[in-house]
Structures are given as C-alpha cells and as structure tokens.
C-alpha cells in the first residue's frame, strides 16, 4: 500500500463514521510519519465537523414554540367563514360578472360620441349641392392615411340624407356630387328609393298529359 492509497482509505474510514483504521492502513501508518500525520489531521477535521453540526442543530428549543403552535391551532379551529354560506361565493361571483358586463355595456353606449372627434365630414347632403369638404392636400404630397372602416358623415340637419363613404372614395364622391347638377336624371335617381324587385308568385299545377296513342311502327317486317 502506498501513501496515496493509505490516505484515501483513511478518508473513507473516517467518512463512514469509524475512527479505527484497517490493519493494513494501521501497518502503513506506523511506518510512515506522513500518513500518520494525515490521519491525525483528518480525524481532527471529522471530529470538528461532527461537533460543528451538533452545535448547529442541537440548539435549545425555545419555550414559546409549542404554546405558539397551540395558539395558532386554536385560531384555525375557530369557525371563521360561517357568515358566508356555501352558495355565497357563487352569488358574489355572479354579481361581479353582472357588474362588469353592465360597465362594458355602458361604455359601448358612451363610446360613439367620443369617436365623433375622429370622424371627418365626408360629404354633405346632396340637397345642399355643395361638394364635400376635403382637408387640403398638398400637391404632390403623400395621401392621407386611409381608413378601412366606413366613416359616418356628420349630419348637418335631421332632414338631410346620410351618405356613408369610405375614406379612400371620398375624393371620387366629391367629384361625383359636383357633377350631379348637370345630370338631372342621376340626381333624381339618387333621391328616389330603389325599387324593390318583387318576384311573381310561382304557380304550381299538375302536369297534364294527353292520352297516348300507341301505333306500330310502319315498315317493320312481321314474322
């Protein structure tokens, strides 16, 4: 056994909780002062570790530990939620959902006026015969951002008809409105409501077939 093996064996023995080395280790140790020294150092180290662990763990138990637990146990034993019956939670949840939905509904009702600031006047009534006001465009400039959503035109009076125009079609519509006075029939057609196409009721009758007259084919050879 060499010194390295001996020292490894010493470490294993002490780590296993035994202080007595094996006969082989003991024989080597008695003839090797280095290993003997190593053994003493390791023994001291393990003893210090054990003592340190014991002092760390075996602290005196504070006298307030068990009374504290008992007091907390008593607190937990008290009936604390008797004032809320079992269905109470469901009722509270339902009320909360209802309240939230009412708030949302109210907000939806309130939101259209708030959008009015964003809407622009796309056109005016046709009866006014004025072209729709457009924000001035810079020549050669970039076109304003188009909106996908149709914009409800602001109504100048209650009697004037409303026209819904897409933002990107506003310019074309303005030009069309400017031409309307020259084309009278178009203007009249615009003011008239479209005629509803009505289908004639379907008549159902039995199929009538005249009596069929059966005749033998002429020119066929008879057997």
């Amino acid at each position: 056994m060499n010194c390295k093996q001996c020292q490894e064996q010493i470490r294993k023995t002490l780590a296993a909780g035994s202080e007595l080395p094996t006969a082989e280790v003991f024989a080597h140790q008695s003839s090797c002062p280095l290993c003997s020294e190593f053994y003493d150092a390791q023994l001291n180290l393990f003893q210090a570790v054990d003592a340190g662990l014991r002092s760390l763990v075996n602290h005196p138990v504070p006298p307030s530990l068990l009374p504290g637990v008992c007091a907390r146990m008593d607190e937990k034993n008290l009936p604390q939620r008797d004032w809320i019956p079992g269905w109470g939670y469901a009722a509270v949840a339902a009320a909360a959902i209802l309240a939230v939905s009412v708030v949302f509904a109210l907000r939806r009702q309130v939101s259209p006026p708030s959008l009015q600031g964003n809407t622009t006047v796309a056109s005016r009534s046709v009866a006014n015969r004025h072209p729709a006001t457009q924000p001035p465009r810079k020549p050669g400039g970039v076109a304003p951002t188009t909106r996908v959503k149709p914009v409800v035109a602001a109504v100048s009076s209650a009697a004037a008809p409303e026209v819904i125009v897409l933002a990107e079609e506003r310019q074309a519509f303005a030009e069309f409105v400017a031409e309307v006075p020259e084309r009278r029939e178009v203007a009249l057609a615009l003011t008239q409501p479209a005629q509803a196409a009505t289908d004639a009721p379907v008549e159902i009758a039995f199929l009538q077939i005249k009596e069929v007259e059966v005749k033998p084919l002429e020119g066929t050879p008879r057997e």
Binding site: K12, A15, F46, A48, L56, H59, C70
Partner: protein
Amino acid sequence: MQELVLIQSGRTLERESAREIARSRLNHEFECRLAECGPLAFRIAQGVLRNSADAEDVAQEALLRAFQKFDRLQDVTRFRAWLVRITFRLALDRWRSARRRERRETEWSRPEQRRAPASTEEIVASSEFQGRLERALEGLPEKLRLVLILAAIQGYALEEVADMLGVPIGTVKSRLFFARKQLAEKLR
C-alpha cells in the same frame, strides 16, 4: 310535518356532535405528537436556517400545516416522516428567500453598512470554522444535507433517521458517508 322537522334537526345535531367528537379526538392525537415532534421540527429548521427566531417560525408553520392536513394522513405512524419533509421544505424555501434578500441588500449597500453580529451567541457561531462548515453544508445536495442534519440531532439513531426518511438504513449510511466525505473535501 313538525315531527319531521324535529327529526331532521336531531340528525343534524347528531352529525354536528359526531364531527365535533372526531375533531377533538384528532386534536388530542395531534397534540400528543406535538410534544415529541415539535423539537424535531425546530432542530431541522435550525440546521438549515441557523437562526433560532426563523427556525421557530418555520417550525410553527410546519406544525400548523401538518395540523391542518392531519385528518388526511392515511398512516398516522408516518407522521414524523411527513413532518420532517414539510419542515425541511419550508426551511429551504425560507433560506433561499433570505439568501436572495441578502444578495440584494449586499448589492445595494456598502460593506461598512453591513449589520454586525448582534449577540455573543451569533459571534461564537460565526467563528471561522463554523462559517466554513455552514457554507460547505449549504453546498451539499438536499438529500445529503437532510441526512446530516437528522443524524446530528441528539437522540435519534440511524434506524430512526431511516424511518423518518422512509429509506433503508443502508441508504442512510451511504448518504451520510458521501455527505461527510464531501464536507471534509470542502473544508480541507
């Protein structure tokens, strides 16, 4: 109708009283175990946290949790093992959060502003070797750490430690061997 109502209320009362009796029996059974297992819980927490106040708090919390779920414990003889696990988990959680907090405070405060050890007990405990030992203990895997703590608690043989952990005694011995070996290597 009246008779029916009377019978129902009687049954309810009977059920209530039966429940009350069962609860009081359970409480009594728990309190019997409390005297034995309370110190064990405290010592496990102390082994992890190294602070009496925190260890007491964690032990109380663990005992309270055990009490709340005591009726669900199928095998009452396994109570001690169950409590050991609860306490160790809670203590580890507390230790980790304390370490995080400490790290944050260290980052934000200058070294001279750090708190000095308060009592003689703490000064003794924070001696150089003890400090190194505690750091080495923190670096061990949880399984090895728990075995070391349980084996160091006075009054418990290795068979009892094995029983607490629900593992064979051979496993306890092997874990103890590796734990001590690793500790010695770290402290060398």
